[in-house]
Amino acid sequence: MTFDKIIVLILGVFGIGFTYWFFLMKKEQEIAVTGDSIDIKVEGGYQPDFISIPKGKTTKINFMRSDPSTCLEEVVIADFKIRKYLPLNKKVTIALTPQKTGEFSFTCGMNMFHGKLKVTS
C-alpha cells in the first residue's frame, strides 16, 4: 500500500470517528427558564435547543427564524399538539402551560432539527 493510501485510510478512520464524536456525542446544555418567557433562535437548528420549564406555569416560547431553509419553516411540539408556521425574521410566540412533567421534543416540520423541552415539577 502506498503512503498516500495509508494517509487517506488513517484520515478516513479519523474522519468517521470525528463525525461520530462531533454530531452524536454532543453534550446537551440545559437552559432553565426562570422568567415567563424564553427566546429561541431558529437558525441551523434551535438555540438554545434544550430548555426546561416548570409544570403548571405558562411559559412563552418565542421562536425567531432567521434561517431561510424551508425545513425550519414550521415548528412542531407534537406532545402539545402544536404545529406553527414560523415566518422569516418574525417572532412567533407559543404559550405552554404543561400539566405533566417529562421530556418532550420540538422539531422542525420535516423532523430534521430537534430540540428538547423538559418540564420540571
Binding site: 441551523g44 425545513c71 412542531v76 407534537a78 402544536i82 404545529r83 416540520g109 423532523n111 430534521m112
Partner: protein, 792 residues
C-alpha cells in the same frame, strides 16, 4: 368622531376583582366610552372613539394593570403566511431557472457526446468556473446558510449533505481549473466537474420547489376552513340594521340574515325560518330546515328565508373556531408510527457523512484508476442521494391530508394517534339511546290496572261500558300525572318524554318530595303521603313488587322494541294508591279491593324511541368492512333485541347500567378486540375514554368533546364507517410513504457507494443521484396528496 366596539381576549385574569381593575383602567383611558370585562369568557368589550384612542392605548391600559389584551397582530394571519410562502416560492423558482440554465450551458460544454456541438467558449474551464460560481454561492447560498449555523450547534441536515457534496465537486473543479499541471502530474485527466455541482444544485432546488408547492396543498383543508369565516354581520340595534366587522359582534346581539348570505356567528333563531346549507361545516349535503329556537351555525349559508337570530357564541367559541382548533391540533400531533422515523432521522445525516468518508477512503485505497476521481464522484453521489426529507415528510403530510379530509366530511379527529388506532378497530359498540336512536322517545302506551278490568269482568251493559271507558281514560291521566310528577326532577330522556306527554295532555303535576334517582333503575319519591316508584323491572324487583298479570303485556310491548316503565306504590310505606276516578267508580267495580289484594303495581307506561335514518346503513357499512357491531343499552333484553334486530345487530349488551358501560368495554377488549365506542360523549364519557377509540356524535355547536377521539359533527352514523375507512387509507398512505422513503435510502445509498460495481460495474452519477433525491421527497408528498382523491 367614530365609535367602534371591539372585543379582545384578556390573559391573566383570575377573579372578579381582575374584572373591576381592568374595567377601571380601560374606562380611565381617554377616548374609551365603555368597557365591559367578562371573567367567564376572559374578554373585554371596549367601545371607543378611534380618533381619540388606539388599540395600542387599550393594550397599554390593560398591560398597565398587569394583564394582557391580545391584539390581532399577535397572531400570524393566514394571508401573511400565504404571501410569505408565495414570495419564497418565487425566489426559489428564480434560483431554479438561473441554476439550471447556467448548469445546462456548462453541461453542454463538458458532457461527452454534447461537447462536440457546443461553442468553443463553453468548453473553456474558466468560463465554466464563471458560470458555476453564481450557482454555487448565490443559488446554493441557502444550503450554506443552513449548514454553517447547524455545524456551530453540532447538528446537520439535508442542507449539510448538499452543501458538502456540491462544495467537494466545485472545489475539485476549481482546483483543476487553477492548477491543471498539478492534476496532470497526479496522472489524472484534466477534467472539471462544474456540471455536477451546478446541475445538482439546480435539480435539488427544483425538487424543493415542487415539494414546497405540493406541501402547501396538504394543509389546504384548514385554510379552506379559515376562509369560511364571515367578515361582517348585520346587527339590529335600536331598530336599525348596521353592518359591523365580525370581531365586533358580542353575545346577545340580534343579527339579521338574508337569503344567500353567510351566517356570521353561532346563535339561536328568533324570528323567521329558512333552509340552511351546513355542508361546509358538517358535510351534510342537504340544506337543513331551521325555525324558531333552532341553533344556527356560523359560516353556513342561508338559502331561502330571512331571519333574525341571537348570537350565542363568538370568536374562538364558535363551532367553526373549535373545528379549526381541533384540526390544527390534530395536524400538530404525532402518530406513534412516526417514532421509528424519528429515531432514524436523528442519526441519519451523521451516518451518511460517515458512509461518504468511508466511500472515499475505500475507493481511493482499493478502487480502480483513476482512484481519486472514482472516490470523489462516489462520495459526492452518496452525499447527494441520501434523502432524510422523505422520511421526515412521510407521516405528517399524510396525517395533515387525512385529518383535513375528515374535517371536510364532518369527521373531526382529535390527534394522529386516534387516526392511527382507528384502522385497527375490529369491534364497534354503539350506545343505543341518542346514538342509534334519535334519543327523543315518545309515550306510546299508558296502561292502568283498571283498563284490563272490563274484559276481565265481562260486562255487557252499554252505559256501564261507557262509564268504564271514561274511568279508564281518567285513570290513565292519573297514571300519567303520577309518573310525570315524579319524573319532572329527572334528566333521563324517557322522563322528558313522559313530562312532555303530560304537558300535551294538560295534566296538572303534583308536588314531589324526597325525590331520588336510582341509576339504571328509575326514580322514587313521595307524592302526598304515598311512596311512589317509577322505573324498570329491576326497580320493581329491588322493591319486591310483583308484576302479577302485567307480565305478558309487558313482554308484548318489549317485543315491539318499546321500553316499559312501571308505576308502583309500596304497601309498607302507605295505603295503596286510590285514583280519584276509581273511588268514584267503586260501586261498579271494587278495584280498590283488587289493588289491596293482588298488587301494588298501579300501571305502566311504554315509551318508544325512533331509530335514526342513517342507523341501518351505518351498521351495514361497518359489517361489510368485517367489523363486529355491538349494541349496549340499559334496556331489558327483549326491548334491546327487538331494536337490534331492526338494525341488523346480533350482539347486544342489555340491562347495562350507565356506570357499567366502561366495564363492558373493557370486557370486550379483554377478548382481544380493538374496540371503538360510539356514544353521545356526555352520558357515556367514561366508556368512550376506556375504548381504544371513542367516537362521539356531535351535539349542538360543541365539537370539542373531551372524552372523544373522533367527533362526528354531521350526526350521520354512516360516518363511523367513513372514519374507519379514512384511518385505513391514511395508514396505508403512511406505510407506503415510509416503505418508499426507507427503501429508497437503504437501496440507493449502497449503490451510490459503489457496492454494485465489482459485479455489475454499476456506479451512480451524482447528477442522477440529485434527480433521484429530488423525486423521492416529491413522490412522498404527492402520494399523501393522492389521499384527497380517495373514495371514502
Amino acid at each position: 368622531m367614530k365609535d367602534v366596539k371591539k372585543t379582545y381576549p384578556i390573559k391573566g385574569m383570575h377573579c372578579a376583582s381582575c374584572v373591576r381593575v381592568i374595567e377601571k383602567s380601560l374606562k380611565r383611558t381617554a377616548g374609551v366610552k365603555d368597557a365591559v370585562v367578562n371573567l367567564a369568557t376572559e374578554k373585554a368589550t371596549v367601545t371607543y372613539d378611534t380618533e381619540k384612542c388606539s388599540e395600542e392605548q387599550i393594550a397599554s391600559a390593560v398591560a398597565g394593570v398587569g394583564y394582557k389584551a391580545v391584539m390581532e397582530q399577535d397572531v400570524v394571519s393566514q394571508d401573511e403566511e400565504k404571501i410569505e410562502k408565495a414570495r419564497e416560492l418565487k425566489k426559489l423558482r428564480n434560483k431554479v431557472v438561473v441554476s439550471l440554465f447556467l448548469g445546462g450551458l456548462i453541461l453542454w460544454g463538458s458532457f461527452p457526446g454534447l461537447i462536440n456541438t457546443a461553442p468553443a467558449f463553453l468548453k473553456n474551464f474558466w468560463v465554466q468556473l464563471l458560470l458555476a460560481t453564481p450557482v454555487q454561492f448565490w443559488a446554493g447560498w441557502d444550503f450554506y446558510r443552513a449548514t454553517i449555523p447547524a455545524l456551530k450547534h453540532r447538528t446537520a441536515n439535508m442542507d449539510t449533505l448538499v452543501a458538502l457534496g456540491t462544495t467537494v465537486a466545485y472545489m475539485y473543479s476549481a482546483f483543476v481549473t487553477f492548477f491543471p499541471d498539478v492534476v496532470m502530474g497526479l496522472g489524472l485527466e484534466v477534467m472539471p466537474y462544474f456540471d455536477v455541482a451546478t446541475i445538482v444544485i439546480g435539480l435539488i432546488l427544483l425538487g424543493r420547489y415542487f415539494e414546497a408547492a405540493a406541501k402547501g396543498k396538504t394543509s389546504e383543508a384548514i385554510k379552506k376552513l379559515i376562509g369560511l369565516q364571515a367578515k361582517t354581520a348585520r346587527i339590529v340595534r335600536n331598530g336599525k340594521e348596521v353592518d359591523v366587522p365580525i370581531e365586533q359582534v358580542v353575545i346577545g346581539d340580534i343579527i339579521r340574515v338574508r337569503p344567500g348570505e353567510k351566517i356570521p356567528v353561532d346563535g339561536i333563531l328568533l324570528e323567521g325560518e329558512s333552509a340552511i346549507d351546513e355542508s361546509m361545516i358538517t358535510g351534510e349535503s342537504i340544506p337543513v330546515e331551521k325555525q324558531k329556537g333552532d341553533t344556527v351555525i356560523g359560516a353556513t349559508i342561508n338559502k331561502t328565508g330571512t331571519f333574525t337570530y341571537k348570537a350565542s357564541k363568538i370568536g374562538q367559541d364558535t363551532m367553526l373556531a373549535q373545528i379549526i382548533k381541533l384540526v390544527s391540533e390534530a395536524q400538530g400531533s404525532k402518530a406513534p408510527i412516526q417514532r421509528i422515523a424519528d429515531t432514524i432521522s436523528s442519526y441519519f445525516v451523521p451516518i451518511v457523512i460517515m458512509l461518504a468518508i468511508a466511500t472515499f477512503a475505500v475507493w481511493y485505497v482499493a478502487g480502480p484508476n483513476p482512484a481519486l476521481l472514482f472516490a470523489l464522484l462516489n462520495t459526492v453521489a452518496v452525499l447527494i442521494i441520501a434523502c432524510p426529507c422523505a422520511m421526515g415528510l412521510a407521516t405528517p403530510t399524510a396525517i395533515m391530508v387525512g385529518t383535513g379530509l375528515g374535517a371536510e366530511k364532518g369527521i373531526l379527529i382529535k390527534d394522529a394517534e386516534s387516526l392511527e388506532i382507528a384502522h385497527k378497530v375490529n369491534t364497534i359498540i354503539f350506545d343505543k339511546t341518542g346514538t342509534l336512536t334519535k334519543g327523543k322517545p315518545e309515550v306510546t302506551d299508558i296502561i292502568s290496572l283498571s283498563s284490563v278490568i272490563p274484559a276481565q269482568a265481562g260486562i255487557q251493559n252499554k252505559i256501564l261500558k261507557q262509564a268504564i271507558a271514561l274511568s279508564t281514560r281518567r285513570v290513565q291521566d292519573d297514571i300519567l300525572c303520577l309518573a310525570a310528577s315524579i319524573e319532572k326532577g329527572s334528566e333521563h330522556p324517557l322522563a322528558e318524554a313522559i313530562v312532555k306527554r303530560a304537558e300535551e295532555e294538560k295534566v296538572n303535576l303534583q308536588k314531589v318530595s324526597k325525590f331520588k334517582a336510582v341509576a339504571g333503575h328509575g326514580v322514587e319519591g313521595l307524592i302526598g303521603k304515598k311512596q311512589i316508584y317509577f322505573g324498570n323491572r329491576r326497580l320493581m324487583e329491588k322493591e319486591k313488587i310483583a308484576l302479577g298479570s302485567y307480565g305478558e303485556q309487558i313482554e308484548r310491548l318489549e317485543s315491539d322494541g318499546k321500553t316499559v316503565m312501571l308505576l308502583a306504590t309500596h304497601p309498607s310505606h302507605s295505603e295503596p294508591f286510590t285514583p280519584v276516578i276509581l273511588s268514584e267508580a267503586k260501586d261498579l267495580i271494587n278495584v280498590q279491593d283488587k289493588l289491596r289484594e293482588e298488587s301494588v303495581l298501579l300501571g305502566l307506561i311504554a315509551v318508544a324511541d325512533t331509530i335514526k335514518e342513517s342507523a341501518i346503513a351505518g351498521v351495514e357499512a361497518l359489517k361489510k368492512k368485517g367489523i363486529e357491531v355491538i349494541m349496549i343499552t340499559g334496556d331489558n333484553p327483549r326491548t334491546a333485541n327487538a331494536i337490534a334486530s331492526k338494525l341488523g345487530i346480533t350482539r347486544v349488551l342489555s340491562e347495562v347500567l350507565p356506570g357499567q358501560k366502561e366495564a363492558e368495554v373493557k370486557k370486550i377488549q379483554a377478548e382481544g378486540k380493538v374496540v371503538a365506542m360510539v356514544g353521545d360523549g356526555i352520558n357515556d364519557a367514561p366508556a368512550l375514554a376506556a375504548a381504544d377509540v371513542g367516537i362521539a356524535m356531535g351535539t349542538g355547536t360543541d365539537v370539542a368533546i373531551e372524552a372523544a377521539d373522533i367527533t362526528l359533527i354531521n350526526k350521520d352514523l354512516r360516518s363511523v364507517a367513513t372514519a374507519i375507512e379514512l384511518s385505513r387509507k391514511t395508514m396505508r398512505t403512511i406505510k407506503t410513504n415510509l416503505f418508499w422513503a426507507f427503501g429508497y435510502n437503504i437501496l440507493l445509498i449502497p449503490v451510490a457507494m459503489g457496492v454494485a460495481y465489482p459485479v455489475f460495474h454499476l456506479l451512480l452519477s451524482p447528477i442522477f443521484a440529485s434527480v433521484a433525491m429530488a423525486t423521492s421527497s416529491i413522490s412522498v408528498v404527492s402520494n399523501s396528496l393522492l389521499l384527497r382523491k380517495a373514495k371514502i
